[in-house]
Symmetry: D2
Subunit: 333 residues, 4 copies
Amino acid sequence: MKTLKIGVVGAGRIGKLHVANLMTRVSGATVVAVTDVVAESAKALAAQFGIPKVYGDYCELVNDPEIDAVFVCSSTDTHSVISYDAVMAGKHVFCEKPIDFDLDRINKVINAVDQMGVKFQVGFNRRFDRNFKHVRDTVQAGTIGDPHIVMVTSRDPAPPPISYVKVSGGIFLDMMIHDFDMVRYLSGSEVTEVYTNGVVLVDPAIGEAGDVDTAIVTLKFANGAIGVINNSRKAVYGYDQRVEVFGSSGCITADNETPNLTTLYTENGVMREKPLYFFLERYNEAFIAEEQGFVDAIASDKPTLVNATDGLKPVLIAMAAKKSLETGMPVKL
Amino acid sequence: MKTLKIGVVGAGRIGKLHVANLMTRVSGATVVAVTDVVAESAKALAAQFGIPKVYGDYCELVNDPEIDAVFVCSSTDTHSVISYDAVMAGKHVFCEKPIDFDLDRINKVINAVDQMGVKFQVGFNRRFDRNFKHVRDTVQAGTIGDPHIVMVTSRDPAPPPISYVKVSGGIFLDMMIHDFDMVRYLSGSEVTEVYTNGVVLVDPAIGEAGDVDTAIVTLKFANGAIGVINNSRKAVYGYDQRVEVFGSSGCITADNETPNLTTLYTENGVMREKPLYFFLERYNEAFIAEEQGFVDAIASDKPTLVNATDGLKPVLIAMAAKKSLETGMPVKL
Amino acid sequence: MKTLKIGVVGAGRIGKLHVANLMTRVSGATVVAVTDVVAESAKALAAQFGIPKVYGDYCELVNDPEIDAVFVCSSTDTHSVISYDAVMAGKHVFCEKPIDFDLDRINKVINAVDQMGVKFQVGFNRRFDRNFKHVRDTVQAGTIGDPHIVMVTSRDPAPPPISYVKVSGGIFLDMMIHDFDMVRYLSGSEVTEVYTNGVVLVDPAIGEAGDVDTAIVTLKFANGAIGVINNSRKAVYGYDQRVEVFGSSGCITADNETPNLTTLYTENGVMREKPLYFFLERYNEAFIAEEQGFVDAIASDKPTLVNATDGLKPVLIAMAAKKSLETGMPVKL
Amino acid sequence: MKTLKIGVVGAGRIGKLHVANLMTRVSGATVVAVTDVVAESAKALAAQFGIPKVYGDYCELVNDPEIDAVFVCSSTDTHSVISYDAVMAGKHVFCEKPIDFDLDRINKVINAVDQMGVKFQVGFNRRFDRNFKHVRDTVQAGTIGDPHIVMVTSRDPAPPPISYVKVSGGIFLDMMIHDFDMVRYLSGSEVTEVYTNGVVLVDPAIGEAGDVDTAIVTLKFANGAIGVINNSRKAVYGYDQRVEVFGSSGCITADNETPNLTTLYTENGVMREKPLYFFLERYNEAFIAEEQGFVDAIASDKPTLVNATDGLKPVLIAMAAKKSLETGMPVKL
């Protein structure tokens, strides 16, 4: 089987993570080029993993004829432009989420993908988590019957810097967007209406930055089911990531991952481990699985498991959730 | 210590349950009289437990000078009238929930209780469940810090008869009313706003009767916390009764009660027992604890743990939830 | 149904427990007489529960023609004599464990029971625990196939006083005797050989008193299965009472009972409750069930669930385990 | 850091596993040569992973001056000879367990390792399992105080072929040997005496081959603790691998690993996943960790975590357990 040759745009935290996995954990692919707006970052990453080419500009990279596929790991505001250019250069594209906050620009990418017939995958890595995938598969298999209620608990261990909150688009676009994708994935249906309860309980500075830090969003789905997502920017016990789907024939829940499965009995109580601290720990294997999935989709010419439309929909839901918070009214999609 | 002499109005399912517990499990009290609109039911119950007096009319019972306290276990539409008459006769009253669906009639009872200085307790038995009580105590102790998110899952094993749905006031007044009381109890705060997502997924006949069978209600609390309750009329795996309170310093959850704590490993999987089937099984000990609590409150002249106002508030929330469902808008209290 | 009239010999801790349950929780029976070598104890207990007769001597009690059944709750060294006299007086007998440490005296009781045709039950209350009963029923139903390995973990929260250790017969006769009964109950088979590993790790004074405080006993059963029991006199986290039966088609385990089923998540970890502290807490419902079982066996003229032979066998196994510890060799029964 | 150049002797199941991990998951090492008595197997493995050299004979491999370290993955009866030759050729050696069944030959290897000053590691991979390692670390940290009781449950999903049973040395040398290593690891102490209960319950053919298939071995340790291991050749629910250490200040247990952490509620019960099927699934990460540990020990010139003596001790315990089974008596070490 031909090895997929990959160029990576962006050598920051998530770019490094993808490069490390692609070079050591993913089969059928290799990274042949990297670029970053900070040239030193790109060089250092290339040196660490023996990547032959370092480009000074993403345009050079996406036009390198040796390259089959591009990973877009740059800053969020450049995702859609780079993705578009890479697609138009005939490359398969893996784009970190979100594609964009601007719907026109997302649609421009979607249209380009259709036109060029390349593979496009968005980085909703949680779909590849062993637990959530099993919940989804169980729902799809009909084991719990028709889904009636979809529930997602998603709480971060600590809030991001206020500087990030100011530019991220806020809790619905930088955090709950994963959960909006998750409820689509678990329910197998589209969200048709949302209503938001959002408050500032973790840090007043988040409120001053125009965002909330604690939120419950209820949802209606096209298939008749209803759902609810709860988010907090700060769970002192670690990254709390649980889901539940209740249906006409049963219910399935997914619990948190922990560092190990031991139980300690002492005078103070019976203790188990806290959840894994944050997404790098919790979703390490999910990142590898999404990368392998992308490589395999290209090799076998099958659809990717998170396509460009899957990148668009959660943005639409996040915008509706934000509008619901602002208006205090339910918002239809 | 003087034995509390109790008269019981209503010899149906819940009346029988209270009589049986009062005569065998509760200390410091005895049932001396019973009445029911079906005279035979009252006689049979009296015979079974050796209760000396059977009255043909509740008025006779509430005016019997030997009686210290009255349990109101009659049909829902008679709760407030009988309670009022018993209170005005100077009796302590334990009233099954709800006191009434009419706010004026509830307030009339509340005022009578104030006027007469008797004890009044409403039958929100779940407050006495060992799990929920421990969650409440943990929240009160500050162990999880300030409450941020309050979650209640409450699903019945099977829907009631359609005839009941037609007169019960619907899911918010006959089922979720327990959960409205629960969130007040767990959060230690009042509900200020609700928004309802309600659908018919279990049985179309429930929809035809003007009710929903699956609902998610989100809530705002006076102390700033937010919350969510989900209800289903039919969980095929049994009575699903779980709560969770998340706060600034931690989170506490309560799991279902089961017939035993065994685990079976076979070729088919690793199995634990289903939740106890329904409220008679799940809340058996909670019923006894609420009865004992009522008897003890009288003996020690302390406030009851679920007073008349606690009977009123969940009715108000239920009405708001119903209105939210009808209007599709959030409703303030 | 005729009410069973019971006389209780012994008003100490276990006698009080049985009287309280018989008077408040068990149906079809009432305590009509009590006696104790300390007359004041008998009087106080009678007063507390309204028991009409207090005898100064157990002989008077067992010969009272009104009494149908006798509970033998006196000191261990008097169990067999009182049981014998009660049986010979034609009374049904519930005898606290052990019947005796002397095999001749046990056999004398067994023979008397056979001769008189009365009901006889030994106080191995753990058979009535909801978890162990379910394990036993599952094994009996064939769900796990043929039993291969039977495991019992049984650890007390704190050692008894040294004065007790000196007269109790030691860990095998006062503590592990319950587990010897349990393995017979769970396996449905007889123990044929034991080997003991016993050490002093909790308190040197226990060693000085001629006993061990930590022990593992391995067992062979007549049906081919093998088993192991581990005991400790001191588990700082409370009363640890778990069993496991592994067979050709699966495995079933029973976990500890706890005060409630909540889970607390904090910065320090994920905590559940410790096991219930000791036998009065853990086996409260089991005591009631064994008492009710005894009453029901008499009412329906069915065999008791723990007969006199069931009282003998664990004593034989305990003696073999003790001999194995002394000789360092396996001992056949 | 210099890359460790490894030669692998044996291209069977375990050899392939080590090569695959070393080439894809372990950092700081690469496989440069492979050999197997079946030349085709070596060639195929080399081709798959791009290993440059294939030797026709292990002697050539261990004398290749480019090679720093040798993995001995050949058939059990050749482990000690190849290890010895590799050590005497100045190579670091990773030897699959057991080193040998002959004590003289094991000691010859131990002496050679001492003489040559090379690193030597035995393949007791379970020490690197995240759960068992955490139990060990917790015991070492003193969290549970002095260890009193060490328990290991270790059951295979299916028995090996009878042909294997005939040459493997039997259950104590091919299966329980891992558990003998585990109790040394967990207790931090040496086994001083064993007593074996062993029976044939899974397959009579195992008995005809002179072995047992179900066994309980009790142990005494030099530090005063006692322990017990139970083994079965066939657990229909999968690979059952649990440990427990009970001590003066608490108890720690490790539960099985499962494919995911979901729970399914249906009319049939509440189901979790079965344990991972067998050692390739369960100990995949442990294999990688032991390989990385070996590579790191060489790079940092630190002792390996499972040295040659750790290879000898479990063989001695296994032989004692076998002798105990044969004689029916406890055996001192």
